[in-house]
Symmetry: C2
Subunit: 211 residues, 2 copies
DNA sequence: CAGTATTCTTACTCGCGAGTAGGTACCAGG
DNA sequence: CCTGGTACCTACTCGCGAGTAAGAATACTG
């Protein structure tokens, strides 16, 4: 008496999605090393050779995961920010979009940040690449401000710091999920735009009153 | 015709140091997973059973590495900061000490940051622990400022962001070694103390003129 | 329904690396 | 020169997990 009969035969495209979802889930929970192809196939509800037939080796699979999730995230952010606004407003909407994405895609975020960042394989390139794009984006934002940082190096390093702060804060957020995304985003916005100096004085940044 | 004769017999304490140095080196270059005990023993100039006799399993060895390097770093920072100064000066000296350490201990830093951060094993605890100590330190610094962040949560999250910014900037620095430590540290100091808002206006932070 | 393409599985191989058994050189002190 | 102890090695075992061979079951097409 099978409870479910036999799993249905599905077209390749659909299976690939299922497998990718399972892979992101397992990689995010266990990390690249501890995740085994056997477990991924089990979670995906198929057998191991399918994995290899459809997605190639473990390294390829992981790289594909990174690429997919990175793209999803960058798109989410790009959608959230309006390019014709003032720099501070752009930054603000970017931060909101970022924390919004992380909040709703814990697994994606963990794969991207925790797992990919240190695995020295060929896939690190994917992650480094996305990170680079994010940094460039922010750097461009900074340079576009009037009396902005003089050297290109300076803008880039500040952007790297900001991106790192965002990543780190997102990580911290995972351990304090009770805080809403907007609050966390606002906090970072205040830090990077006003600085501690102003915060200590009681000066805070707030979005220009719409409407 | 051996070039070097036979390696000398050394007392246990000395060997342990050698092994730890080799382990940090290999772990930092290859990551935890890709690093094999065989390679570590080879770099250390001894044979594998010595590793196990002296430092225990691979996990134990790695945890010991993390602990040693983390301690070294925290001490370096603690030495660099004078506790009776104004908050901004304390932060400044802390940042200088941090970047100074990273600049002179690339391998240590890579083991700490890149490798340990994601390996989900028992040693992640070591790293999380040190990171927590750093965050608490900074959080205390913030709370000690007069009109500082109201909630404990707020201070802690800002501290997490700052620490993340530091880590990220250090990472960026590895790819741009031509910049001196002091410049990088000053940049981060300006970012977190003045904020982009002030930087855009041309207001920069500078240390109170000593002497 | 024959023929063919595609989905999917069971049941392996095989190398790599963690960990070990058992023994050898070297140095004390009596 | 024996006795014991510590530093050190060669040469294994053994499990785990990546990757595969060979074929079974199902769907499409004329």
């Amino acid at each position: 008496m099978r409870t479910e009969g036999r799993a249905k035969r599905l077209p390749r495209a659909v299976r690939e999605r299922q497998i990718m979802d399972a892979a992101v889930d397992v990689f995010s929970r266990l990390g690249f090393h501890a995740a085994s192809m056997d477990e991924i196939s089990e979670v995906a509800g198929i057998s191991k050779p399918m994995l290899y037939a459809y997605l190639g080796s473990k390294d390829e699979l992981f790289a594909t995961c990174i690429r997919r999730e990175a793209t999803r995230m960058m798109e989410a952010i790009a959608t959230g920010v309006e390019p014709d606004q003032e720099p501070d407003v752009q930054l603000w909407s970017g931060l909101r979009a970022f924390f919004g994405f992380v909040g709703e895609n814990r697994a994606s975020w963990q794969v991207l940040h925790r797992q990919a960042s240190n695995q020295g394989g060929p896939f690190a390139a994917e992650l480094t690449d996305m990170r680079g794009r994010a940094v460039s984006l922010v750097a461009a934002l900074l340079t576009q401000s009037t009396k902005a940082p003089a050297t290109k190096l300076e803008a880039e390093s500040l952007a790297a710091a900001l991106v790192g702060a965002g990543e780190s804060l997102a990580e911290w957020w995972l351990d304090h999920p009770e805080e809403p995304a907007g609050v966390v985003a606002a906090r970072l916005m205040n830090l990077v735009w006003m600085g501690f100096g102003d915060l200590v004085e009681g000066n805070v940044w707030h979005p220009p009153s719409r409407r």
